[in-house]
C-alpha cells in the first residue's frame, strides 16, 4: 500500500516536473521577446527543478534506500532555489541596463529607445510589468527623472 | 544499421575534430583560433572516453560486495589531467593574445602580418 502510494506520488511529481520543463522550453522558443522568454524559462526552471528534485528525493529515500543521495539532492535543490532566480534577475536587469527594449503583446516597443531602457534600469524601482502601457512607463520615468535631477 | 549505431560516436568525434580544424585554419581571429583548438581538444577527449565505455558497465568506483562490470578507468585518468592541462595551455595562449593586442592593436592574423611586413628590420 505504502509502496504504491510512494510510486504514485513520485510519478505524479515527476510528470508535473516534466510538463513544467518542457513548457518552459516551448516558451523559450515561441515567445516573442527576451523578457517574456526570460519569464517563461526562469519560472519553469526553478519550478521544474523543485518538483523533479522532490520526486527524486522520494525515490532515493524509499526505493533506493540511499539517504546520502537524498541529502545531496536536497542540497542541489537549495542551491538552485537561490541561484537560478538570482541569475534570471541579474540577466533581466543587465539586459535592461544595456538597452534591450521590452515589447508589448503586439510586438511594439514599450519604451522609446535603448536610452530609456537603460534609464529605467538605473532608476529605482525598476518597475516594468506586463500589461503596462507605454504612457504610464514614460510618466514613471519622467517622475524618476525629476527626482534624480533634484538629488544630484 | 548495427555499424551505424556502433560507430556513430566516433563519427561525431571526427565531426568535432573537423570543426576545430576548420576554425583553426579558416578564421583569422586569434581568439577564435583558440576556441577551435578547444574544440579539437575535446574531440580527442571524446575519442578516449568513448573507447573506455563498456556497455552495461558502471563508473569505476568500487562497490562493496558486488562485482558489476566497470568501465575502463585508464582513459579517464589520462583525460582528467589533459583537461586541466588543456585549460592551462589555453590560458597561456590567451595571455599571449592579449600581449599581441597590446603590441599590434589587433588580433587578426593577416593584419599582424601586414604590420610585420611594413616594419623595417630592427
Amino acid at each position: 500500500m505504502i509502496d504504491l502510494l510512494i510510486l504514485l506520488v513520485s510519478w505524479a511529481l515527476m510528470i508535473v516536473g516534466c510538463v513544467f520543463v518542457v513548457s518552459g522550453a516551448v516558451a523559450l522558443v515561441r515567445m516573442p521577446d527576451l523578457y517574456t522568454r526570460l519569464h517563461g524559462a526562469s519560472l519553469t526552471d526553478t519550478g521544474g527543478t523543485l518538483v523533479i528534485g522532490l520526486a527524486l528525493i522520494i525515490q532515493a529515500l524509499f526505493v533506493f534506500d540511499n539517504s546520502m543521495a537524498a541529502v545531496k539532492m536536497g542540497l542541489i535543490l537549495l542551491f538552485t532555489l537561490f541561484t537560478s532566480p538570482t541569475a534570471s534577475h541579474a540577466l533581466a536587469k543587465t539586459a535592461l541596463l544595456c538597452g534591450q527594449v521590452p515589447l508589448d503583446a503586439k510586438g511594439n516597443p514599450l519604451l522609446d529607445g535603448p536610452e530609456q531602457a537603460s534609464l529605467l534600469a538605473r532608476s529605482r524601482p525598476a518597475d516594468y510589468r506586463h500589461g503596462q502601457d507605454k504612457e504610464r512607463i514614460a510618466q514613471q520615468i519622467q517622475a524618476l527623472d525629476n527626482r534624480g535631477g533634484d538629488e544630484s | 544499421m548495427e555499424k551505424i549505431a556502433g560507430l556513430y560516436s566516433y563519427w561525431i568525434v571526427v565531426v568535432l575534430m573537423m570543426a576545430g580544424l576548420y576554425i583553426m585554419i579558416a578564421r583569422y581571429n586569434l581568439t577564435k583560433k583558440i576556441i577551435g583548438l578547444g574544440l579539437f581538444q575535446t574531440s580527442i577527449f571524446y575519442l578516449y572516453i568513448t573507447m573506455g565505455k563498456v556497455a552495461g558497465g558502471t563508473a569505476p568506483i568500487l562497490i562493496d560486495g558486488e562485482q558489476p562490470v566497470y568501465s575502463n578507468p585508464v582513459p579517464h585518468v589520462l583525460i582528467l589531467t589533459a583537461i586541466v592541462v588543456g585549460v592551462a595551455t589555453s590560458a597561456v595562449a590567451l595571455a599571449l593574445i592579449v600581449r599581441i593586442y597590446e603590441e599590434y592593436g589587433t588580433v587578426e592574423e593577416d593584419e599582424i602580418k601586414a604590420i610585420e611586413a611594413a616594419e623595417p628590420e630592427a
Binding site: M14, L56, L75, T80 | A59
Partner: protein
C-alpha cells in the same frame, strides 16, 4: 518513469539549444545557455537514478554552481566590459 523524464529533458535541451544557436541577441543566448545548464543538472540527477547508481549527484551540484558562475561572469562582461571592476558595489546613492 526515469526514462520518460530523461526523454523529456533531452527534448527540452534540444529546444533550448535551438534558442542558443538562433539568438537573436546575446542575452537570448545567455538565457538559453543558463536554462540549458539547469536542464543538464536535472539530466545528470535523473540519469543517476536511471542507471541505478545515484551516488554521483556531486557532479550535478558542481554544475549548478558553475552554471551560476558562468552566467554572472558573462553578465558582468556585458555590463562593464571588464571582469575585475568593483562597480557592482561601488555606488553613490
Amino acid at each position: 518513469m526515469f526514462v520518460a523524464a530523461t526523454i523529456a529533458l533531452l527534448i527540452t535541451m534540444a529546444l533550448t539549444l535551438w534558442r542558443a544557436l538562433v539568438g537573436p541577441t546575446q542575452f537570448d543566448r545567455l538565457l538559453a545557455v543558463n536554462s540549458f545548464g539547469t536542464k543538464t543538472v536535472l539530466l545528470i540527477a535523473v540519469y543517476g537514478f536511471l542507471t541505478g547508481r545515484p551516488d554521483f549527484l556531486d557532479i550535478a551540484l558542481v554544475y549548478a554552481l558553475i552554471n551560476f558562475l558562468g552566467t554572472i561572469a558573462v553578465l558582468k562582461f556585458f555590463e562593464q566590459d571588464d571582469l575585475g571592476s568593483g562597480q557592482y558595489q561601488e555606488d553613490d546613492y
